[in-house]
Structures are given as structure tokens and as C-alpha cells.
């Protein structure tokens, strides 16, 4: 009986241990590979220590990709948050139309992002695409949506927003529906207006939910690949080559494995740091929201 009691704690941690090993093993191996000059042309490589990271950081292409990645992630996360919260506020009034819209709203989330990008690629096609067709009466039928650097980046962000705004809206709506009724009733009795109530009650209490959505969307947008690759392949020029695409090109298309993995490790570090900061911020906001509720 004694040995069972001694062993039980260890047995209980076995699943977590296996899971941790399953995560850490490929990660560690990837990290280890970045210390070599491993590529298709050099299958038995030499140890180069941190040279790959040095090469990554001195590449102009890296800084361009890093800048594009940040622009994309901030733009997409910001637009999705604003639109998502707005949609949630509209749907919060539980009318029949609202309930129907709620069902429709979730549709983009059921489509694979790469498919969404292909659909939008066809819709944005300048000569036969439906977007230009609809804009033609307003004299805007000749827009080359993805042929200019700014257009390509904005179009990619727009597709991301189309796919993921419902995700933010659903989270925000769940948050709205879980807020206590009494502070709002008290505000109504005091004759507070909609804007005042929104600013002083709804938003502070809703922030924790919104921030969870922001964390998910910001981290995902930093790691974007499918939408941009299907829509623009990273072009025109290098204007939409985000870090993930650069890593893919290096590791898969050009077969410089170590160099490609180095890019992903750098991206991982960026995502990790961003997540740490946001999660720390989330804790503070949750405490503030609790104060408002009480």
C-alpha cells in the first residue's frame, strides 16, 4: 500500500510529462538544428553556433519581413477588435434579426483561411472580380487590389478581418451576456446616457473578454501564412513577405533548413514576448473589471 501512495504523484504527472516532452522534443531539435549550416546541398553540416541568427539579423530582408509582420498583426488585430466589439454590441439586443445574423456571422470561421483567401483573390480580380464590378457605378471599377504594395497588404488584412472578426464578436458577445445586470439598472435609474454607460460600465467590464480575443488574434496574426500566401505569394516585390513566408521560402523552397528554422525561432521569441506582455496586462485589466463590478 505504501509504494502505491509513493508512486501515485509520479503517475499523475506522467501525461503532463509526456505532453511536455512531445512539445519540447521537436522544439529542442529545431533549436539544435539552427546551430548548424544544414541545407540540401550540405546534408552533413558543420556546427556554426549562432551564425545563422547573425545572418538573419543582418539581412535587410529580415527587417523588411519583421516590419510587414508587425504592420499586418497590429492592423488586423486592431480592426478585428473594433469591428468585433461593434458587431457584438449590435447583436446584444436580442431581436429575431440579431439571432439570425448571429448564425450567419459565424460562417467565415467555418471556412479554411486559405480557401477564404482564394475566394477573395477571385473577388478582387480587377477585370472579372465582383468587387470592381460593384464599384464600377461609382467610377472605381479599375482598382488593382493586390498589384501595389499598399493595396496587397491592405487586401490581406481585409481578408483576415473578414475571417476573424466573427471570432472577436462571439467572444465579446459572450462577455456582454455574462455582465451583471444591476450596475446597468442603477445607471438607467440615474438617467445615464448610452455613451456614458458604455464608456464607464460596459467597456471596463468587457475589457477582459476583449483582451483575450486581442491576445489570440494578435498572436495568430504574427504567425500568418495561409491568407497572405494564397492571396499575394508575398508580392508584389517583398511587400507582403511576412516572417512565416520568409521562413517557408528559406526552409522548403530554397532548402536552407537551418536558416529557415532560425527565422521561425526568432518569430517564436517575438510571439512569446508579445504574449507575455499581453497576458500580464490581462491580469491588471481583470482586477480593474472586478472593481467596477463590485
Amino acid at each position: 500500500m505504501g509504494w502505491r501512495l509513493t508512486l501515485r504523484p509520479y503517475l499523475l504527472i506522467v501525461p503532463a510529462l509526456l505532453l511536455t516532452c512531445g512539445i519540447l522534443y521537436p522544439f529542442g531539435l529545431g533549436l539544435y538544428y539552427t546551430l548548424f549550416d544544414f541545407s540540401a546541398s550540405k546534408p552533413q553540416p558543420d556546427m556554426v553556433r549562432f551564425e545563422n541568427y547573425g545572418a538573419v539579423f543582418t539581412q535587410e530582408a529580415f527587417w523588411n519581413s519583421a516590419w510587414v509582420t508587425v504592420l499586418y498583426a497590429v492592423g488586423a488585430a486592431l480592426a478585428e477588435t473594433v469591428l468585433g466589439v461593434a458587431v457584438a454590441l449590435l447583436l446584444h439586443r436580442s431581436t429575431m434579426v440579431g439571432r439570425v445574423l448571429e448564425k450567419i456571422l459565424i460562417l467565415p470561421l467555418m471556412i479554411a483561411p486559405v480557401i477564404a483567401a482564394i475566394i477573395w483573390k477571385l473577388m478582387l480580380q480587377p477585370s472579372v472580380g465582383v468587387v470592381n464590378y460593384l464599384l464600377r457605378p461609382f467610377g472605381l471599377g479599375g482598382v488593382q487590389w493586390t498589384d501595389t504594395p499598399t493595396g496587397a497588404l491592405l487586401s490581406s488584412i481585409a481578408v483576415d478581418v473578414w475571417v476573424y472578426t466573427p471570432f472577436v464578436a462571439i467572444l465579446a458577445l459572450a462577455g456582454l451576456r455574462s455582465l451583471p445586470a444591476s450596475p446597468f439598472e442603477a445607471a438607467a435609474v440615474d438617467g445615464a446616457g448610452w455613451w456614458y454607460t458604455f464608456r464607464r460600465l460596459t467597456l471596463p467590464m468587457l475589457w477582459p473578454y476583449v483582451l483575450v480575443a486581442v491576445i489570440f488574434r494578435f498572436m495568430d496574426s504574427l504567425k500568418v501564412f495561409d491568407i497572405i500566401y494564397a492571396l499575394t505569394e508575398g508580392g508584389p516585390g517583398d511587400s507582403t513577405v511576412v516572417l512565416q513566408i520568409r521562413a517557408y521560402l528559406e526552409a522548403i523552397r530554397f532548402q536552407r533548413y537551418s536558416f529557415g528554422i532560425s527565422y521561425t525561432i526568432v518569430l517564436w521569441a517575438v510571439v512569446y514576448l508579445a504574449a507575455m506582455v499581453l497576458v500580464k496586462h490581462l491580469g491588471k485589466i481583470q482586477r480593474k473589471a472586478a472593481e467596477v463590478t463590485t
Partner: protein, 473 residues
């Protein structure tokens, strides 16, 4: 209590050790799997008289790209199985992700596929890491290769295009035979005869004329009843595939080189004054008469625009136009003609080519059966049948190109045979063979997009050359 803590520490240390062991083992085993290559070719194991039934009962796995040539192969596979008793299992992937699938599969060091389609450029990438079987010893072994396979029947430039010494900058036609030509494409101009007749224009003989003509069609064709038609379809996506058809053909006809080779050292030459001027001219032509949304254009869009009467001309593979010209294939079928395209300043018709080749996985465990498949797929009987009864055109074999039934089939396409015969002797791979081909050409396509977008050609191409110099040198 102390013992408990001690036990926990020991347990954690053991667990960490157990977790680290496979990692260290994997690292020690090297990268990318086992590399137990033998010095001798497996072809040497085949002895005795040649026999198609030698590997009866074996199954060969093939990786194929979605293509009309593939359709012709699949339609005839039953003949191969009847002839050899070998079954062929295959996977077909669209071109957008075909090469990624093949690259990942080959680099894994496994033999998931015994045979596969590849282009000659891929030999430059897959050859140096020893992923491709050298087919030379198989071709030379009369026990492995039937006399009717007739190596001399291939167009020599095609067979040589799949031969390389694996040294950067070394010319093709030397070293191992890493694939066999199976179907190919020459890059020429195809045009819509209806719009040419209505506008009273004729095919261009110089590049300036082509630019002018493309602009004229874009300006005048919509008013002549061709709603939304533009001048010339050329590829523009941010991919290596944008560089090799029309662009590289016209580049070569201007006597320009991608790299200069001196003592085995490669120097990028796409920023020479002449190359800069040509690239500016190309971008100007696309702006004046090219497709809207050019930066996303692959051969699929170019080809379908010609067929849909959206493009007046196509400067790309002759097959890309042929598939639209076939009776009933598109609204433009019956109205598509072929022309060699503009000559270079000295009258050059140097043309870049693409070869769909068939190769064998160096790690295959069924090399003898795989060789029988490659031999059959590139043999006279199958290729003749595919060319005549299917759409496997641009024969790699002289006997098929000269076959009366093939010529009868192709004769109804205005200018096809004449164009083919005019450029065939000057068609070859115009790139310098080197392992960084895909990086170089993808970056080149990106540079082309930037120039099209308004950036200065000189500075963009200087930047490209600087970047490539460090990679290919």
C-alpha cells in the same frame, strides 16, 4: 522526507535523460535520415537478357503533377501493367504545391515514391544532395534496357538538359543522367487570329513591335467587339515560374545571361546595363498591354485568358496555347495561331524551354521495376500513342515528331508545326545551372514586380545581384 525529495529529483533527472536520449540519438544520426549510399549502381545487379516481365508482381509508386501529359500517361497505364506485370500506384497533385510535396518527400530520405515528374531545373536542386538516381548506368546496361528504347531517337538537347556534373556553372550535357525527357515546351507567341484580322495587324518580329502591338490590342480590341481584351498574357506571380518562359526567352534572344561563369565562380549578370534596359522594356510592355492584376498571373491564368478571348496574345509555352486551341476546349479554339515571336537584335531565336522529365528516387527499393516504368513511359510506343490520341504534344522523340499521324493531328493549328520546326534547334535551357536556381529566380520575379510597380530598374537589379552574389558565388 529527505528521501522523498531525493527520489523525486532522481526521477526527474531520469525522465529528463530519457527524453533527451532520442534527441541526442537523432542528432548523432545526422540530418535528414539515413544516407547509406552505395558506390555501385543498382543497375549493375541486372544481368541476363532483357525481359519486360523481370519484375512481375511488383508495385511502383509514382508522384505526378496534374497536367494533360499526366492524363495521357494514366490513360495508358493499363498497357504498361499488361506488358510488365508491374502495377503502378500514383498520387496526382496540382502544380501549385506539387514541387513542395516532392521536395519535402525527397528531403525526408524515405522512398515514399519510386518515380516522379520533375523539370530539368529541379535536377540542379535535387541532384547535389544525391536524391536522384543516376540513370546513365541503367541506360548503358543492355540487360536492363531494351534495344527498342533507342536513346538516339531523343532530341539530343533534351537528353542533355537532364545531364549535369553537379558543379555550379558547369554546362549541361556532362555528368550523370538524372532524369529522362518525357514532354517539353518551347516558348513562343500564340495569338487570336480573329482580333488580328479585325484590327489589321500581324505578329511582331521585334520586341519593340511586340510592345507596340500589345498596346494597340489593349486600346483597340474592346472597341472592335472584344470586350475586356488586353494585349499580351505573360506570367507575373512572385515565383521562379515567372522568369523562365517568355521573359527568359526574350532575355536570351537579346544575348543576355543570368550569370557569367569564370573559373567556376558565378557572377550575377542581371544588372548589366543591357539587362537593365531589357527589364525596363519588359515591364513597359506589361504595363502597356499586359493583364490587369499581372502580379498574380501564373500560366493557368495566361492560358485561360487566351482561351477566353481576354488576351490577344500569349508569350509562353506552346502547350499553354495548344490546350486552349484544341477543338471545343475554349471560346477561342479554332482561332489561335502560333508564331516564333520577336527575334533578338541579331535575328536570334534563342528560346528557353521547359522539360517535364521523369526521375527515380535514389532511395527507391524497387529500382529495377522503376526503371522498366521509366523506360516504358519514355519509349516510342507510349509517347506516340499519347501524342496522337491524347494531348501529349511537343514530342521528345524525333520519330514521333516526324510521324505522319502526329503531323496530321497538329496541322490544323495555324503555324504550330512551322513554329516548332523554326525554334526547335535553338531551344535549350538558357539559365546557368546552379543549386540556388529557385532562390535566384524567385528573387528575380520579385524584382520584376517592383520595377513594374515603379521602382528604378537599375537600383532594384543591383540589389538583386548583390544579394545573389553571396549565395551562388
Amino acid at each position: 522526507m529527505d528521501t522523498h525529495v531525493h527520489d523525486r529529483r532522481r526521477f526527474l533527472a531520469l525522465a529528463a535523460g530519457a527524453a533527451a536520449a532520442p534527441m541526442l540519438t537523432a542528432c548523432g544520426a545526422g540530418f535528414g535520415g539515413n544516407d547509406d549510399k552505395s558506390d555501385g549502381s543498382a543497375a549493375d545487379d541486372v544481368t541476363g537478357s532483357f525481359d519486360w516481365k523481370r519484375e512481375k508482381g511488383t508495385t511502383v509508386k509514382a508522384l505526378l503533377n496534374k497536367h494533360p501529359y499526366t492524363d495521357a500517361l494514366i490513360a495508358d497505364l493499363k498497357s504498361f501493367t499488361e506488358k510488365t506485370g508491374i502495377k503502378v500506384e500514383y498520387d496526382v497533385f496540382p502544380e501549385d504545391n506539387y514541387f513542395d510535396k516532392l521536395t519535402v518527400d525527397l528531403s525526408s530520405g524515405r522512398a515514399s515514391y519510386d518515380v516522379f515528374m520533375l523539370g530539368a531545373y529541379m535536377v540542379w536542386q535535387y541532384g547535389p544532395p544525391n536524391w536522384l538516381e543516376d540513370l546513365g548506368p541503367w541506360m548503358r546496361n543492355s540487360s536492363a534496357t531494351g534495344a527498342e528504347w533507342d536513346q538516339a531517337d531523343f532530341f539530343p538537347n533534351l537528353l542533355q538538359a537532364d545531364q549535369w556534373s553537379l558543379k555550379a556553372g558547369a554546362p549541361l550535357g556532362q555528368g550523370g543522367q538524372y532524369a529522362l525527357p518525357w514532354g517539353w515546351e518551347t516558348n513562343v507567341v500564340a495569338y487570336n487570329t480573329e482580333v488580328f484580322r479585325k484590327l489589321g495587324v500581324k505578329p511582331a518580329d521585334t520586341f519593340d513591335e511586340l510592345t507596340e502591338l500589345a498596346g494597340t490590342i489593349k486600346r483597340k480590341a474592346p472597341g472592335a467587339g472584344f470586350d475586356g481584351m488586353y494585349g499580351i498574357a505573360v506570367r507575373g506571380s512572385r515565383s521562379w515560374a515567372t522568369i523562365h518562359p517568355g521573359f527568359m526567352t526574350m532575355y536570351a534572344r537579346n544575348g543576355l545571361k543570368d550569370f557569367t561563369v569564370d573559373g567556376g565562380k558565378l557572377t550575377p549578370a542581371m544588372n548589366s546595363p543591357e539587362a537593365v534596359a531589357f527589364t525596363e522594356d519588359w515591364a513597359r510592355m506589361v504595363k502597356r498591354g499586359g493583364p490587369p492584376s499581372w502580379t498574380s498571373y501564373t500560366w493557368y491564368q495566361c492560358s485561360s485568358d487566351l482561351g477566353a478571348k481576354k488576351a490577344g496574345m500569349l508569350f509562353d509555352a506552346d502547350t499553354a496555347a495548344y490546350f486552349q486551341a484544341v477543338k471545343g476546349a475554349s471560346p477561342a479554339s479554332g482561332k489561335i495561331a502560333f508564331h516564333p515571336g520577336p527575334k533578338g537584335p541579331g535575328g536570334s531565336l534563342a528560346t528557353n524551354m521547359w522539360i517535364w522529365s521523369l526521375g527515380m528516387n535514389a532511395k527507391s527499393k524497387k529500382k529495377s521495376a522503376s526503371w522498366l516504368f521509366l523506360q516504358w513511359a519514355t519509349g516510342k510506343e507510349h509517347l506516340r500513342k499519347s501524342a496522337i490520341t491524347h494531348n501529349h504534344i511537343d514530342p521528345v522523340r524525333k520519330s514521333v515528331a516526324d510521324d505522319a499521324a502526329y503531323k496530321d493531328k497538329m496541322r490544323h493549328l495555324p503555324g504550330f508545326l512551322e513554329t516548332f520546326e523554326t525554334v526547335v534547334d535553338q531551344t535549350k535551357i538558357q539559365f546557368t545551372p546552379q543549386a540556388q536556381f529557385f532562390d535566384a529566380t524567385t528573387s528575380w520575379a520579385s524584382a520584376l514586380q517592383e520595377i513594374y510597380g515603379g521602382k528604378g530598374a537599375k537600383s532594384v537589379l543591383d540589389g538583386l545581384a548583390d544579394d545573389l552574389a553571396g549565395k551562388v558565388g
